[in-house]
């Protein structure tokens, strides 16, 4: 069996995903946080055609719409928490699926490394109501097109 190594980019994405979860006060690293983590990578942002700030803003818009749907109007505090929990938050089951999928994607192309692109393919395989899929849909990202471009054997 091919030993799969992790790359710096993947590690970086998982770290920024944890930071995004923390920033929003979430207890678990969700697929939406992983997507935000990926958008810290300029290559991923370019491929999807959306920026990190856009994604954060649209995510907040979805939050406000959800609150309005149940008749509530509360502020969404988009500021990092002043106190950092020492524990790294666990992944949601959706995020664990993405991690599994990224391993499959890496194996499928005989890559010895799980790269950020494989994580991105994992994210792009999610379907609504998955939070990352909802966010991509709200930003009108061409998911099928992005998948096709990632799968193309260039580079």
């Amino acid at each position: 069996m091919v030993k799969l190594l992790t790359t710096d980019a993947r590690k970086r994405v998982l770290t920024t995903a944890a930071e995004e979860a923390h920033r929003r006060g979430d207890r678990r690293i969700g697929t939406d946080h992983m997507l935000l983590g990926l958008l810290h990578e300029p290559a991923a942002a370019k491929l999807l055609g959306v920026g990190l700030d856009d994604a954060r803003r649209v995510s907040s818009t979805l939050d406000r719409a959800a609150l309005a749907a149940v008749g509530l109007d509360a502020p969404t505090l988009d500021a990092p928490l002043p106190v950092r929990s020492r524990r790294r938050p666990p992944f949601t089951s959706g995020s664990r699926e993405v991690l599994k999928r990224s391993v499959d994607e890496a194996r499928a192309v005989k890559s010895r490394h799980i790269e950020a692109r494989h994580l991105l393919l994992g994210i792009l395989s999610r379907e609504r109501p998955d939070p990352a899929a909802e966010l991509l849909a709200a930003m009108d990202v061409d998911v099928a097109g992005a998948r096709a471009r990632l799968k193309r054997p260039a580079n």
């Binding site: 959800a66 149940v70 509530l72 509360a74 928490l81 929990s85 609504r128």
Partner: protein, 67 residues
């Protein structure tokens, strides 16, 4: 009695919106908690006093926010 009859204004036909709203409220609670735990510590509250105010044990609040 259905939930609709109790809190008609809190009910959405769309579970995706309703569940997302719950997540937002959890997050908001975490944010308000973190801000005020820090404030309480700065004002000299003990972990025990903070735990009592939050309705949790001293240990759990210290494990979460202690340095």
């Amino acid at each position: 009695m259905t939930p609709t009859k109790i809190f008609p204004e809190l009910v959405s036909e769309d579970p995706a919106a309703g569940l997302r709203a719950v997540g937002v409220l959890h997050r908001l609670a975490e944010q308000v908690e973190a801000i005020h735990v820090e404030l309480a510590r700065k004002q000299g509250w003990s972990w025990e006093q903070i735990g009592d105010a939050l309705g949790v044990s001293r240990q759990s609040v210290h494990a979460k926010y202690g340095k």
